[in-house]
């Protein structure tokens, strides 16, 4: 899962003086992109393009991995074997997505360990939506419905990203993602249509807690987004935060009506003149607070990832040690 709130890193220094050759290479690079061309791993690219992609792709990967945790909370408590199976498969997909993305990032001259070190030290970010707690089973369905729904909107444009290894990873990911949203919606729909009043109340409660954070997934309003213009030029980011957020709201209002849940926004209403739904103010203080590390689950999420990595060190070392022993034996033979 991805969020464009990732574009909140401080503006990076641009080299003021460039060689004539480099300027020409960059001119041709920009022309190639303007024509809709693809950049592959061995092509010349501006350093800023490479750095931006490493940051964006790796933070997308981190989001997938951290995003496993709030859902994994409910695997052992899933209410039926079918739901347990679906949830496990979904979380496994997310691990796989993280892996495809780390793989794409590594083609840009970084290593998985370097990327993980950045995550574990707190330098790299992940989607802040995963810093919220999953308090009930209905949260799992709502995450599928709203969070995956938002992620899909962000992700489809990325299948046309100029950096081809990233675009290819995104094609793979999008193919698997629509199942996630459908399953989440289905779980909620069954509870709303056939479940008990207590189940319906659980679904409404979960919706109330996840609605606003889902809207924040699209990142700050376009005026405040630091990297928008250059990323747009380079085909890394093709649609604005505000436009995606509006699209999401318009689609989701109808889905909420089908489900029979209300959305916790008294200002939400169709605006005939605009052709879109108007909606209430987003609490951007909350957004910056959570992104900055003071959300409900930031410490637990990162702590869990760091612990898994550190507890796994002896395992990874053992496998390497065994491989080296075998290699030595082979060479001696």
């Amino acid at each position: 899962m991805y969020t464009q709130a990732m574009d909140t890193a401080p503006k990076e220094e641009r080299k003021a003086v460039r060689s004539l050759e480099e300027a020409e290479l960059e001119r041709r690079f920009d022309a190639k992109i303007d024509k809709g061309g693809f950049i592959e791993a061995k092509d010349w690219m501006p350093e800023h393009y490479r750095k931006t992609l490493v940051r964006q792709i790796s933070q997308h990967a981190h989001s997938e991995i951290v995003g496993m945790l709030p859902e994994a909370n409910w695997v052992t408590r899933a209410p039926t074997l079918k739901r347990k199976t679906i949830l496990l498969a979904k979380i496994q997909d997310e691990a796989g997505h993280g892996l495809y993305l780390y793989s794409a990032a590594e083609t840009l001259g970084t290593s998985r360990d370097e990327l993980l070190a950045a995550l574990h030290s707190g330098k790299a970010k992940y989607s802040s939506i995963f810093n919220y707690p999953t308090l009930t089973w209905a949260d799992v369905g709502v995450i599928g419905w709203l969070v995956d729904g938002a992620a899909i909107m962000n992700q489809v444009p990325l299948t046309r990203c100029s950096y081809a290894p990233y675009a290819r990873a995104m094609v793979r990911i999008c193919r698997e993602e629509s199942f996630h949203q459908r399953q989440g919606f289905d779980a909620l729909n069954v509870m709303m249509r056939e479940g008990t009043p207590e189940q319906r109340a659980m679904v409404q409660d979960a919706t109330n807690r996840w609605w606003w954070p889902s809207l924040m997934m699209f990142g700050p309003p376009d005026g405040e987004s630091v990297h928008g213009a250059q990323s747009a030029r380079w085909g890394i980011k093709r649609i604005s935060n505000d436009d995606l957020r509006q699209k999401f709201i318009d689609a989701t209002v109808e889905q909420a009506r089908v489900l029979g849940v209300s959305l916790p926004d008294p200002d939400l209403k169709w605006n005939e003149a605009r052709g879109h739904h108007d909606f209430g103010p987003i609490d951007w203080d909350e957004f910056w607070r959570v992104v900055g590390g003071d959300g409900p689950c930031n410490k637990e999420r990162l702590g869990a990832r760091v612990k898994a990595w550190e507890d796994g060190a002896w395992v990874r070392e053992a496998a390497l040690a065994h491989a080296r022993k075998q290699a030595t034996k082979k060479e001696a033979a």
């Binding site: 592959e40 791993a41 998985r112 360990d113 990874r316 080296r324």
Partner: protein, 99 residues
Amino acid sequence: MSRTDTTQEWPLWEVFVRPKAGLDHKHCGSLHAPDAAMALQLAREVYTRRQEGCSIWVVPSSQITASDPGDKDMYFDPMEDKVYRHPTFYVLPEAVDHM
């Protein structure tokens, strides 16, 4: 031990899968594995979710020789024959180091 000490990192492997007989192997991506047997096993888990009848090739990424003309004028480094630049591609395994 530093977390970014790349000699402790599981090597990178490129994965090629032929989904069914009659087709070519297609590059799917990469993964980290300690050795060839585990690379094959993990590739099956990660890239095919164990579909029957899949053929998998795994190759250490550093062992691939690549040339990619693409746009000759945009070719980064004509002498660079690795599939892409990766921090671990030039690290020698300890076993070889001692020889």
